[in-house]
């Protein structure tokens, strides 16, 4: 088994896992279970990132999403005792199962439309300056780092402000009278 087909097999497995766990995430009644399944999804996606030569992103995915964000979410779920399940009476009465299925189907139409695009995908884009070999030679993290602190310094700085805004926002909301 050469490396390429191995990659494909791993990809297929990771993809299936991602789909399956995300379906589970959506269907679990208990939000804690959902959150846990979601973490699995994130891991699966991180695997795909690795396959796509995006090591830095894969790591960041695990750290930021699976680690930080999901922990935060779980924490909040526990904090406000939302793990009891979600189905309140008001929600039940509101929409019948049929409607919900119809909604889901309509959303799938969107997917079909998007699929349409994916299937007709051709390489029309401009080829960039960072072929895989070059990136691998320099190192993925280093490349991204140099881009972030170089070319994309400005948005990077703004992102810091964004984080500040986020912090202030979260604090204000919680501390407000």
């Amino acid at each position: 088994m050469d490396i390429a087909s191995f990659k494909v097999i791993v990809f297929i497995i990771a993809a299936l896992v991602a789909v399956a766990t995300s379906v589970l995430m959506v269907t679990r009644k208990n939000p804690v279970h959902s959150a846990l399944w979601m973490i699995v999804t994130f891991f699966a996606v991180a695997v795909i990132y690795l396959l796509l030569n995006a090591q830095f992103i894969a790591v960041a995915q695990v750290m930021v999403y699976a680690g930080a964000i999901m922990m935060l979410i779980l924490f909040v779920i526990m904090l406000v005792h939302m793990e009891r399940g979600e189905e309140g009476e008001a929600g039940k009465a509101r929409r019948s199962a049929k409607t919900r299925i119809a909604w889901a189907l309509l959303t799938i139409v969107l997917f079909v439309e998007v699929l349409f695009g994916a299937l007709f995908f051709r390489m029309t884009g401009r080829i960039g300056a960072y072929p895989a070999e070059m990136v691998n030679k320099v190192g993925n993290v280093k490349t991204i780092g140099s881009l972030l602190y170089g070319q994309y310094l400005f948005p990077f700085e703004i992102a810091s402000i964004l984080l500040l805004v986020g912090i202030v926002g979260a604090v204000v909301i919680v501390k407000r009278k």
């Binding site: 390429a4 939000p31 999403y65 935060l72 979600e86 929600g91 884009g125 490349t143 986020g166």
Partner: protein
């Protein structure tokens, strides 16, 4: 045998994840789960960026994904604060019970 993972595969997968996220976002009755579904949709977006970056030999996609992640983190922080606030005031996080504003 395939040399590389075709970008099309990733796009399809991303589409599937996006759709699942969207369906979850409109059907689940817990705002936190809804928010998680939205995060899933963002992941789908990330997947497209990474796959495209790979296919195009470009790093811009990865950089973008980095920013998306940052934003996702910030959103999570603010969003969860908001959920807590709503929960405190209305004692529910069921979106179907939060409708003082309508019409």
């Amino acid at each position: 045998m395939l040399q590389e993972i075709p970008a099309g595969f990733c796009f399809v997968l991303s589409g599937v994840l996006f759709t699942i996220g969207a369906i979850g976002a409109i059907l689940r009755r817990n705002v936190i789960v809804v928010f998680m579904c939205i995060e899933l949709m963002l992941n789908a977006v990330n997947l497209v960026f990474i796959a495209a970056a790979k296919a195009l030999s470009s790093m811009d996609g990865s950089v973008f994904v980095f920013f998306i992640m940052t934003v996702a983190a910030v959103e999570a922080a603010v969003g969860l604060a908001i959920f807590v606030m709503v929960f405190r005031l209305q004692n529910t996080v069921n979106p179907y019970e939060i409708n003082l504003l309508k019409g």
